[in-house]
Each structure stands twice: as C-alpha cells, then as structure tokens.
Amino acid sequence: DTAVSQTPKYLVTQMGNDKSIKCEQNLGHDTMYWYKQDSKKFLKIMFSYNNKELIINETVPNRFSPKSPDKAHLNLHINSLELGDSAVYFCASSQDPSLEAFFGQGTRLTVV
C-alpha cells in the first residue's frame, strides 16, 4: 500500500486554466504538507496542515488554495495557472511537524 499517494502524476495544461492535485496518506499522520520543487530542484514548503488546520502558508500566491477535507487528505487547487507554476509538487505527511516527512511521488505540472 502506498503511504502517501498523489494524483495525477503528470499534468499538462494551458495558461489561465484551473487545476487540482489530490493527496491522500494512509499513515494516520496528523500533519500534511505541500512542497514545490522548481526547475533547479530546489524544494520549498508551500503549506502545512495539522489536523485539518492551516499552520503554514509560505508567501504563496493566493491563486493556490489548499483544502483538507479530513486529516488524511490535502488537496491543492490552483487558479489561473501561469508559466511560472510549472514545477513538481510534492505532498508529504508526518506524525509531528518537527519529525521526518514521508513524501508522495510528486506531480509534474507543466503549464504551456
């Protein structure tokens, strides 16, 4: 069983579209995250949720809106996609925010 799974794995879309990426974890963790990995492979946190509550929002444009329907799911919705949004987006979870995170396989988003 995959611990942290995200869909889709690849997403190609046009500028201006709205898209969502879904994430689910079956580890029973309380904290979930979205990280963005840019073209230079630099990983940076975008959002963190603990028990469905937003605890980190790292100066991400408000076109990005995370939603956590329950503590096992954290989805990422992106409005009005821009070329600069092209990146790999990783979902992760951890039992405690300070402990190790378990990552999904990533979603490679390409905006054309």
């Binding site: 942290v4 904290t31 995250y33 230079k40 492979k41 630099f42 990983l43 940076k44 946190i45 963190s48 603990n50 605890i55 980190i56 790292e58 990783f90 992760a92 925010p97 300070s98 402990l99 190790e100 995170a101 378990f102 990552f103 999904g104 396989q105 990533g106």
Partner: protein, 112 residues
C-alpha cells in the same frame, strides 16, 4: 531562521569508492537533521535522521551520517558506492516552524 547549505552541486565517484556528501546548517539550538534521496522521476525517500543522542547515525542502504555540533555539519557517508546510488541527495533541517528546510541538493554520479 533555519538554513541548509550543500556546497557540492555535483559529485562523481567510481563504483566501489567511498562517498561523503557535505551538509552545513544554521540553527540556534540542536536541530533535527535529515538526509533524503531522490531518484530520477521519483519522490523523496528518507535515508536517515538525527534528533539527539549518538552523533553517528545509521540509515538505510548502508548510509551513515555524523552530526558535528562544532562544525554545524551533518555529512552523509557510504564506504562503498553502488551504481544504484546515483541520485540526488538532499539534506534538511527541522524542529521549528513546523516544516523542513532543504538544501539545494547534491547530484551523485557513479562511474563504472
């Protein structure tokens, strides 16, 4: 604020040779430290972690790392590299702020 520096962008070693990947961190107290590995097109897998106690930690796949407070370092080592170790390696620091802060990564190439 936490920060992580991985001074080497690329490292090439011969199969069977020893490996050391450098990681320096900036943090006011004893941090939680992690090494992750990312194979091409894959997510991040945790290799090992340090929270406290013995400063030499063992991880998966034959990797180990040593925490040196005096040098603010957490270097990753492996005595004998295998071709399958070719990947990108990320050092990360956690503890405050409910997030992991990653270094820029080191790409390991293995020569046969």
């Amino acid at each position: 604020a936490q920060s992580v520096t991985q001074p080497d962008i690329h490292i090439t070693v011969s199969e069977g040779a020893s490996l050391e990947l450098r990681c320096n961190y900036s943090y006011g107290a004893t941090p939680y430290l992690f090494w992750y590995v990312q194979s091409p097109g894959q997510g991040l897998q945790l290799l090992l972690k340090y929270f406290s106690g013995d400063t030499l930690v063992q991880g998966i796949k034959g990797f180990e790392a040593e925490f040196k407070r005096s040098q603010s370092s957490f270097n990753l080592r492996k005595p004998s590299v295998h071709w399958s170790d070719a990947a990108e390696y990320f050092c990360a620091v956690g503890r405050d702020g409910n997030k992991l802060v990653f270094g820029a990564g080191t790409i390991l190439r293995v020569k046969s």
